[in-house]
């Protein structure tokens, strides 16, 4: 039977829940398996209740699973809250001494996590490392890969730290093995390590995707869940000569990125929906001055502060329409980490080639989750800076026609100081030279010029992904963005029950491709929108743009990501 194992680690913020899941993720990624780690945390630094859940499979993991096979409780609250989620026959590992919990269930194992950590000299802070060792034992995996990882992880902190961590892990492993003596778990074999295989979060994928695309300037203001993008870029800034500026607010962040782009470099910012509210003014500025810029957005449930550490796909309608007046923008919503990496390359090229803002729309689930991928290839990111006129030589300074009419809407541009001519960029309606005008014909021409770019971007937008690619279907599950994996797996679950479902997933959500969509949907199929928001924002957009009715909607807005099982359950309910 194919490997499919989920482990949930729960505890208070500060107990090292994420460290356990990340260590397990590294161990399995390096030893022939695939993982998905999903974080469920509260907006606080210490205390409260949070968990991380890691799903391990032999093939790339598409989505989260509702019910974990193993629950590791670092505190009593986890037992109270998460035990009900444990799969039938699932294993609970808990610290009976610390939580005061006891159980007659043979699958519930009390391990003195804190005491074991203290005994080997790690102190109770290493209870989570003891738990990591126990987790491996509970699913029948070898200990050595974890010891190797800990060695590497703590090498810089000295031999003593490495020793204590390894001793903590070994102790947890050994005690769990003894407990499992009567019912040893089916062993999970170590697989061969594969060249190029990575454990990447969506944030990391987007940050390194941007760097591989030639990012030179980043300005931003931290906001969950987009902050990690800035942190990763900043950590690489000195190595790749990138200017990273901590802006006073999101208004400044996008205006700075626009200024840097006007000077001639690839620039970006990242934020969440609330920060993007502040950026909208500058988004229009980029549209009007025809300045390329990339904005990455990590959606979280709104409005206002909403649920800061949780997920939703609730900003699509806002992002697509943000700003007053008509101006073109493109919105890419990657479905997984590979798409997130390559979407950055495409976003920078689109922004440069169409000289307009491009938004990469992700969400907390995609940004904060770690996925094992077979690799991302920087060489596959090509750089196309669009029409930059680098050869303007004139005797004396003259005005460059920055906004010269062109049927594609895209005029060549010069970079200030890089040419003998000068240019004017203007947020007022302007002439071809960039000077302020109110002349009717010029205004009409300029609006048309800008909006032509929208049609250009629509024509070259990537068609949606169908799964299975060519099978006939009675039901089309329509999705976008990070629910890619959950919908795909739901389709497989339904097809196994002879329900002829198919996924239609859009990464390029705006401007939406219209050509060929009816063929992909099929004539008699019923379209069901599946997304994480209250209204069905993408279903509305799809229906409006293609004229194809979306008859049913499966919507979720509790701040948690969609799972394949719940999508399948709801589809069955509709039949």
């Amino acid at each position: 039977m194919a490997l499919d194992m989920s482990i949930r680690i729960g505890g208070q913020a500060g107990q090292g829940v994420q460290a356990v899941s990340y260590a397990l993720g590294k161990v399995f990624t390096r030893n022939g398996h695939y993982v998905l780690i999903h974080q469920d945390v509260e907006s606080r630094i210490r205390g409260g209740h949070s968990f991380a859940q890691i799903r391990i499979q032999d093939t790339p993991v598409l989505a989260i699973k509702d019910n974990p096979d193993v629950l590791i409780a670092l505190d009593a609250q986890t037992i109270a809250q998460d035990l009900q989620a444990l799969a039938e026959e699932g294993v609970l590992i808990f610290d009976g001494e610390q939580t005061g919990y006891s159980s007659e269930n043979p699958n519930h194992l009390s391990l003195p996590l804190e005491r074991l950590a203290t005994e080997v000299g790690g102190g109770k802070i290493m209870a989570n490392t003891v738990a990591t060792g126990a987790a491996l034992a509970s699913i029948g995996f070898e200990l050595q890969p974890l010891l190797d990882y800990l060695e590497e992880q703590f090498r810089d902190k000295g031999r003593e730290t490495v020793k204590r961590n390894r001793a903590s892990a070994s102790s947890g492993y050994r005690h769990a093995r003894e407990n499992f003596a009567r019912h040893p778990p089916q062993p999970i074999p170590i697989g061969p390590s594969r060249e190029g295989r990575l454990l990447l979060s969506g944030s990391e994928a987007m940050a390194i995707g941007a760097i591989c695309s030639g990012l030179k300037f980043y300005a931003g203001y931290p906001m969950s869940p987009a902050t990690t993008i800035m942190e990763v870029v900043a950590s690489k800034a000195q190595e790749y000569d990138i200017v990273v500026e901590p802006a006073e607010d999101e208004i400044a962040a996008l205006n700075m990125a626009i200024g840097a782009s006007f000077a001639g470099v690839r620039s970006m910012t990242a934020t969440s929906g609330g920060g993007f509210c502040l950026m909208v003014e500058a988004l229009g500025l980029a549209g009007m001055t025809e300045t390329p810029v990339v904005v990455a957005i990590g959606q979280r449930p709104g409005p206002a502060t909403g649920l800061p550490t949780r997920t939703e796909q609730g900003d699509l309608g806002f992002v697509v329409h943000a700003g007053h007046g008509d101006f073109p923008r493109a919105v890419l919503a990657p479905g997984n980490v590979e798409q997130a990496f390559y979407a950055m390359g495409r976003a920078f090229n689109l922004a440069d080639r169409y000289q307009t803002p491009v938004i990469v729309l992700a969400d907390q689930y995609l940004l904060d989750s770690y996925f094992t991928v077979d690799g991302v290839d920087p060489a596959r990111i090509t750089i196309d800076r669009g029409k930059i006129d680098r050869d303007v030589h004139r005797g004396s300074a003259q005005v460059y026609k920055r906004y010269a009419w062109h049927p594609s809407g895209v005029s060549p541009r010069i970079l200030p100081g890089q040419s003998e001519a000068v240019l004017y960029a203007c947020s007022d309606e302007h002439t071809e030279e960039g000077h302020i005008t109110e002349q009717e014909q010029v205004r009409t021409m300029m609006v048309r010029k800008r909006m032509e770019k929208l049609e250009g971007m629509r024509r070259e937008s990537t068609p949606p992904e169908c799964h299975p690619p060519s099978e006939g279907s009675d039901l089309v599950l329509l999705g976008w963005g990070s629910s890619w994996g959950a919908i795909r797996e739901a389709v497989d679950l339904l097809r196994a029950e002879n329900i002829r479902a198919k996924m239609l997933h859009f990464c390029d959500v705006y401007p939406l491709l219209r050509n060929g969509i009816p063929d992909r949907v099929g004539e008699s199929a019923e379209v069901i929108g599946v997304e994480s928001n209250y209204t069905g924002q993408f279903a509305d957009l799809f229906q409006f743009e293609t004229g194809i009715p979306v008859t049913e909607r499966i919507l979720k807005y509790d701040g948690r990501p969609l799972s394949p099982e719940e999508i399948a359950r709801q589809v069955r309910g509709l039949l």
């Binding site: 030179k216 800034a237 200017v243 920087p378 300074a397």
Partner: protein
């Protein structure tokens, strides 16, 4: 050789006849010519308002952006190409109201930008409403019973922010203003010049004559040391019968652009874009 003709723009001027902006424009052009800067080396960043139209009336690279957002754009621009001479320009509404937060942080960052604020103590382009520098009790259409708030003191704010160069000019003294602008551009760091510029159409209180009879050059009769911060605090509060113009405060400190490691050997815009080889970038994720 650069001449005034090189800075001539063909864009027709949309200011009111007699506006203080005309003298400011002359002082600015003369300063740039005096510095020997070519138009292609200059970028002017402006916001919205009558003041922010100024770059259109000069021949030089221009980014005429949004109301209040001059300084972030200028900051990004300068960091991306620090070989350019970057000036930012706007009015009191643009810089002190809408862009107040950016102003504070631009001074803190100390990017090498020269910021000119046309301060006429009123909103001109929208036809005469109370601004953050309007005096308390000032009657306008938005404050028909007089402004309920005291005016902001931008110079005091700048000195408190340890702004690298804090000056006040007056459009009634073009030669003095020209010199201030030259010094501001030469200064390495964020140079701030508040420019008293009477609005002939709407401000009936702070008129040309009103300013003319009050302003005095800070170093005219006695030596003035702009590096003395406490004295500068005192002079910046002088307003009413006597109003000082000139360089009030100077702080020599490293600029943001000088300290940026990414541009130590070459400006960002001159750096080659990504190569296809990032062997170490992916290492940490294995």
């Amino acid at each position: 050789m650069v001449s005034l003709e090189d800075y001539e723009s063909k864009d027709p001027i949309a200011w009111c006849p007699g506006c203080g902006n005309f003298s400011l424009l002359s002082a600015l052009k003369e300063a740039l010519v005096g510095l020997g800067k070519k138009p292609k080396e200059i970028v002017m960043v402006s916001g919205i308002g009558q003041a922010s139209k100024t770059p259109h009336y000069l021949m030089c690279n221009t980014f005429n952006g949004l109301h209040g957002r001059t300084l972030p754009v200028a900051t990004g621009l300068k960091l991306a190409n620090h070989e350019l001479t970057v000036l930012a320009e706007g009015g009191d509404g643009d810089g002190y109201a809408e862009g107040g937060n950016h102003f504070i942080h631009a001074m803190r960052r100390n990017v090498d930008i020269t910021y000119l604020v046309h301060n006429n103590q009123i909103y001109g382009l929208t036809k005469g409403q109370t601004s953050p520098t309007s005096e308390m009790g000032y009657v306008s259409k938005t404050t028909p019973w007089g402004s309920p708030n005291p005016p902001e003191n931008p110079l005091l704010l700048a000195i408190a922010s340890d702004c690298s160069f804090v000056a006040r000019g007056f459009t009634g003294d073009v030669a003095h203003l020209r010199q201030l602008i030259k010094e501001g551009v030469r200064n390495r760091g964020f140079s701030f010049i508040d420019i008293l510029q009477p609005c002939v159409s709407f401000n009936r209180v702070n008129t040309f004559q009103w300013y003319k009879s009050r302003v005095y050059k800070i170093d005219d009769t006695e030596a003035y040391d702009p590096s003395d911060r406490m004295t500068a605090f005192g002079r910046a509060q002088e307003w009413g019968e006597r109003i000082p113009i000139g360089l009030l405060y100077r702080s020599v400190r490293p600029t943001r652009d000088e300290q940026e490691p990414a541009i130590r050997t070459s400006s960002l815009v001159k750096q080659p874009l990504a190569t296809t080889s990032f062997p170490k970038l992916l290492e940490a994720f294995k």
